[in-house]
């Protein structure tokens, strides 16, 4: 059965306008089944429901900003963690700490030698206002062949949970404490610090 639908274009399904929208003076021939032609709402009711639908989505977006139109969170490394040079082994043991601000200190026999040291650096990007949760390991291992040292007490320069500021980019640094034992072999040790953001 062919009927004439006046002034009502059935646009493709659209999130905010699930019933399409009214084109000025437009007419379109549509195929409808008998008895179904009168299921569309009155203009007022349609506007009301459309408003409710849009408002609910906006409410959802403001409550959980990353949900609908923001890019997902991303984190990239900008700087490696460097403990520099320090004394260890031959009975000399202790610890070396690099704080999130990049300062270095030592305890025990792990005397520091003049050398560059840096805290690890990262940047989180996403939509401004997005909530983030930062996850640091409780410990990780640095090794030189079979010899190992452990880094613990990893701390970040930002709270582990928070909200991305205006601009959607948040830079932070991570430091930790390296334990050096008295039988540590003299060598360059290397490990990986993984940080996760969600």
């Amino acid at each position: 059965m062919q009927v004439q639908a006046r002034g009502w274009q059935r646009a493709p399904p659209c999130l905010f306008f699930p019933y399409g929208f009214k084109g000025p003076g437009m007419t379109q021939t549509v195929a409808v089944r008998p008895g179904k032609g009168s299921t569309r709402m009155s203009g007022q009711r349609r506007a009301l429901w459309r408003g409710i639908c849009v408002a609910s989505l906006l409410a959802a977006q403001s409550a959980w900003p990353p949900l609908l139109w923001s890019a997902p969170l991303a984190v990239v490394k900008t700087q490696d963690l460097l403990f520099g040079k320090f004394v260890g082994g031959s009975g000399y043991s202790g610890s070396v700490t690099v704080d999130p601000q990049g300062g270095r200190s030592s305890s025990g026999g792990a005397q520091l030698l003049t050398s560059s040291c840096t805290a690890a650096g990262f940047t989180i990007t996403g939509a401004a206002g997005s909530a983030y949760a930062l996850s640091l390991p409780t410990a990780f291992t640095m090794s030189a062949g079979a010899d190992q040292m452990v880094v613990t007490a990893l701390t970040a320069s930002i709270p582990v949970t928070g909200v991305l500021p205006a601009g959607g980019s948040l830079t932070f640094t991570v430091g930790g404490t390296l334990t050096v034992n008295g039988t540590q072999r003299n060598s360059s040790y290397r490990g990986n610090l993984d940080v996760s953001v969600k």
Binding site: L73, D80, L81, M149, R185, G191
Partner: protein, 178 residues
């Protein structure tokens, strides 16, 4: 008919909610990870060992005070009322130490400002310590091999009519990475 319309709109709302939920699951639970490399360099402790004592050699005290100097090059020299001979000077020698540690690392040397050599109740005072390393190396910087010979000289103050005899004492030299 009204019921059908309401039902249909409710379904749309449900769809919207489902979409929100899907987005929630899809994004907020996916963790993203970045990895920083971590490096640290364990170096051997710095060590110092004496290989030769400081020896001012023989010298003759005069009617007035003076000094005996031993250079880092083992040369004896005298000032003031103190005199010496070539034979007396020949036995003079600077103190030498072997310093070992991380190649190319720098270190600080410390020693007392003064020290005393005694012979019974008589004494000589040492001061003005001098340091040197050989072969064009720099004092306080270990060479590529990590081992360096450190030489130390000093000045002994001799009083007028200082009693003859053998005067001896000790002084400590410390090295520390810096």
């Amino acid at each position: 008919m009204k019921r059908i319309t309401v039902l249909r709109n409710l379904m749309v709302l449900a769809g919207c909610a489902a979409l929100v939920c899907a987005a929630d699951v899809g994004e907020s639970h996916a963790a993203t990870t970045a990895t920083a490399s971590s490096t640290g360099y364990v170096v051997q402790p710095l060590s110092i060992a004496k290989t030769a004592d400081l020896n001012f050699g023989k010298f003759i005290a005069g009617a007035s005070l003076g000094t005996v100097v031993v250079s880092t090059g083992n040369a004896q020299s005298v000032t003031g009322g103190v005199s010496t001979t070539t034979a007396f000077a020949a036995s003079a020698a600077a103190a030498t130490f072997t310093v070992q540690g991380e190649p190319l690392a720098t270190y600080a040397i410390s020693y007392p400002n003064t020290s005393v050599l005694a012979n019974g109740g008589n004494s000589l005072t040492l001061d003005t310590f001098t340091t040197a390393v050989g072969n064009g190396e720099t004092v306080g910087t270990l060479p590529a091999g990590g081992t360096q010979t450190l030489t130390i000289g000093a000045t002994a103050h001799v009083a007028a009519g200082q009693l003859a005899g053998t005067y001896s004492g000790t002084f400590d030299v410390m090295v520390n990475y810096n």
